[in-house]
C-alpha cells in the first residue's frame, strides 16, 4: 500500500480458477488460481514466452481457456454459452500495438463502442417493452415497463461529450478529428487508454502498453496509468517496466512456465525474492 493514497481494496472482481491453455501440444498456462480485487493494481512480470500475455488475454477471453473458469461479477465467462460481448464491455483492454481503428477519426475511435452499446441496449429495452405490453394484456398483476430515458441522438451526443472530456484530460482535444496515422506512438497509446475508459470499465487489462514506444514517449503513457491507479481503477498490467511496477502496483505476480511462481507486494518481490527463477530474472532485468 502506498503512502498518502486512500484506496480501498475490495472484493475479488475477477476470480481465476484452474486456468490452463494449450496450443496443440504446447502447454502455455498450467493451472493458475488468482483473484484480482477491486481497486488494486496488479503487475505481471516474467520472462518472454512464460505465458503472461496469454494469461492476460484469457481474462477477457480473447483467448479461449482450454480448461478452468474465469468468474467475472459472478458469471463464468470462460463458459462458451455465456455471451462474452456483454461482459467485455466492462473489461477494458490496452494493446502493445495500440490497435486504434485506422479507418476512424480519433473521436470516433473513442465513441464507437459506447454508441454501439447504448443503441443496442435501447433496442433491447424497446423490444422487451413491446413484448411486455402484449403480455400485460393477459396478466393480472401487470409488470412495469423499462423506462426509456434517452433517444438515439442523446446517446450519440453524450458519448461525444464524454469523449471530448476524456481527450481534454489527456490534453489531446485538438486531435479529435484527425486519423490515428497522424499521431505519435505515445499519443496513440494514451488515446487507446481513453478508448478503454470511455466504456466505464470495472477493470482495465494492459498488455505491455509501453513496449512498442520510443523511450521518450514511455513517460507520458506511464503518467496517465499512474493517474488512473491513484483514482482507484482496477488494473492488470503485463509490463517490462520494473520501475513502474514497483512504484505503482499493489501486487506483483511472477509468471514462469505457465504458473505463478511467486507473488507479493513490490517490496517483497523485488527486494527479497525467494524463487530462484525470479532471482535470476531480476538479476538480468534490474
Amino acid at each position: 500500500m502506498k503512502e498518502g493514497s486512500n484506496k480501498k481494496i475490495g472484493e475479488p472482481i475477477i476470480s481465476v480458477r484452474g486456468l490452463t491453455k494449450t496450443y496443440g501440444k504446447l502447454d502455455v498456462l498450467r493451472g493458475i488460481d488468482e483473484d484480482i480485487r477491486e481497486g488494486e493494481q496488479v503487475a505481471i512480470i516474467g520472462p518472454s514466452g512464460s505465458g503472461k500475455s496469454t494469461f492476460l488475454r484469457c481474462l477477457n477471453c480473447m483467448e479461449d481457456p482450454t480448461s478452468g473458469s474465469i468468474i467475472f461479477e459472478g458469471v463464468d465467462i470462460a463458459d462458451r454459452r455465456v455471451n462474452i460481448n456483454t461482459h467485455r464491455e466492462h473489461i477494458g483492454m490496452v494493446f502493445q500495438q495500440f490497435n486504434l481503428f485506422n479507418n476512424k477519426k480519433v473521436i470516433d475511435n473513442i465513441t464507437l463502442a459506447p454508441i454501439y452499446v447504448g443503441k443496442r441496449n435501447l433496442r433491447r429495452a424497446k423490444l422487451k417493452n413491446a413484448l411486455r405490453t402484449i403480455a400485460n394484456l393477459f396478466r393480472k398483476n401487470k409488470k412495469e415497463l423499462i423506462p426509456i430515458t434517452k433517444t438515439k441522438k442523446e446517446i450519440v451526443l453524450e458519448a461525444r461529450e464524454r469523449a471530448m472530456e476524456l481527450l481534454r484530460r489527456i490534453g489531446l482535444e485538438e486531435k479529435a478529428t484527425v486519423y490515428p496515422s497522424t499521431l505519435s506512438g505515445g499519443q496513440k497509446q494514451r488515446i487507446a487508454i481513453v478508448r478503454a475508459l470511455a466504456m466505464n470499465p470495472k477493470v482495465i487489462l494492459f498488455d505491455e502498453p509501453t513496449s512498442a514506444l520510443d523511450p521518450e514517449m514511455v513517460g507520458e503513457v506511464l503518467d496517465l496509468m499512474r493517474a488512473l491507479a491513484n483514482e482507484g481503477m482496477t488494473m492488470v498490467i503485463v509490463t517490462h517496466e520494473m520501475g513502474f511496477a514497483r512504484e505503482a502496483a499493489d501486487r506483483i505476480l511472477f509468471i514462469d512456465e505457465g504458473q505463478i511462481k511467486e507473488q507479493g507486494t513490490p517490496a517483497e518481490v523485488f527486494d527479497n525474492p525467494k524463487n530462484p527463477r525470479l532471482q535470476e530474472f531480476l538479476s538480468k532485468v534490474l
Binding site: M62, Q97, Y116
Partner: protein
C-alpha cells in the same frame, strides 16, 4: 465539404487538366488523321474509307442508329454497375464466412456451401452461365424475366465469386489487431467486421476491384446471347444492316476503350482520395 461534392469537383478539375495539358496533341490529331485517311483512300482504291464512313454516318445519324446505341450504353452500364454492386455484397458475405475459423459444424457446412458456389461460378464460362440461366433455369422455375434483368443477376452472381476471393485477400491484409481491438470493446464479430475490418479491406483492394469492374464491363459484350441490347449488339446490327463492318466495329472498339479509360481514371482518383484521408493533414 461532403465526399460526394468533393468527387464531382475533382472529376471536373481532372477533365480540365487533361484538356489543358493535351489540347495541342488533340488539335494536331484532329488535323492530321482525316487527311491521312483520305490520302490512303486516294492511293489504295479498295479501302474506300470515305464511302464507308458515309454509309456508317447514314446508318448512325440519319437512320437514328444512335438511339439504339444510347440504349446499348445504358444497358451495358446497368449490367456492369448493378452487377458489381451485387458482386461486392455477395463477395463480402462469402469472404467473411470464409475467414471464420471452422470451430463448429455449422461453420464447416457454410464453408462447404460457399466453396461450392465459388467453384461453380469460377469453373464455367460466363456465356455458359447466361445460357443455362436464361434458357434452362428460368423456364424451369416458370419465371418471366427481362433479358437485361437476367443478365444483371447472372453477372452479379458471377462477379460475387471472383470478388469473394479478392475480398478474402483484403481482409487477411488488415492487421488482426484491428479485429481484436473491436472485439475487446464488446462488439460482436459481425459488427466488428462490418465497421472496422471490411472498410479497411476495401481500401486495400480498391485497385483490384477497379480491375474487376473493367473486366466486368468488357464481359458484358456477351449479353447478346440472351437477346439483351448492349453496345456490341448495337454495332453488330448497324454493321449487318449495311454490310459494312469496318467502321462500326472500329467505333465499337474505341467506345469500349474510352469507357475503360474513364473507369481507370475514376478508380485512381478514388484511391488517391481514400489514401489522403489517412495521411497527415
Amino acid at each position: 465539404m461532403s465526399v460526394k461534392e468533393n468527387l464531382f469537383k475533382r472529376i471536373g478539375k481532372a477533365i480540365g487538366r487533361f484538356f489543358k495539358k493535351h489540347w495541342i496533341d488533340l488539335t494536331v490529331l484532329a488535323c492530321v488523321i482525316p487527311p491521312i485517311v483520305l490520302l490512303f483512300d486516294y492511293i489504295y482504291d479498295k479501302f474506300r474509307f470515305a464511302k464507308k464512313i458515309k454509309i456508317f454516318y447514314d446508318q448512325f445519324i440519319v437512320n437514328q442508329g444512335y438511339e439504339r446505341l444510347l440504349e446499348g450504353l445504358k444497358n451495358t452500364a446497368l449490367i456492369a454497375v448493378v452487377g458489381l454492386m451485387i458482386g461486392i455484397v455477395i463477395g463480402t458475405v462469402i469472404a467473411v464466412i470464409r475467414v471464420i475459423r471452422p470451430t463448429n459444424r455449422v461453420i464447416k457446412y457454410a464453408h462447404n456451401i460457399v466453396g461450392a458456389y465459388v467453384a461453380l461460378f469460377r469453373g464455367t464460362p460466363i456465356v455458359v452461365q447466361l445460357l443455362v440461366g436464361y434458357f434452362l433455369l428460368l423456364p424451369i422455375m416458370k419465371v418471366q424475366m427481362d433479358p437485361v434483368a437476367a443478365c444483371i443477376t447472372i453477372f452479379g452472381l458471377n462477379s460475387g465469386a471472383y470478388i469473394s476471393e479478392i475480398m478474402r485477400g483484403g481482409i487477411n491484409s488488415v492487421d488482426p489487431g484491428q479485429l481484436e481491438a473491436a472485439r475487446a470493446v464488446g462488439m460482436p464479430y459481425s459488427t466488428s467486421m462490418l465497421k472496422i475490418v471490411v472498410p479497411q479491406a476495401i481500401k486495400n483492394i480498391l485497385p483490384t476491384l477497379g480491375n474487376e469492374f473493367i473486366a466486368l464491363v468488357k464481359e458484358t459484350a456477351v449479353v447478346g446471347y440472351v437477346g439483351a441490347v448492349d453496345i456490341t449488339t448495337t454495332f453488330q446490327y448497324l454493321a449487318s444492316n449495311s454490310y459494312e463492318y469496318m467502321v462500326p466495329y472500329l467505333v465499337m472498339a474505341i467506345i469500349y476503350m474510352v469507357i475503360v479509360a474513364v473507369i481507370a481514371a475514376l478508380v485512381k482518383l478514388m484511391e488517391r482520395m481514400l489514401a489522403k484521408s489517412e495521411r497527415r493533414q
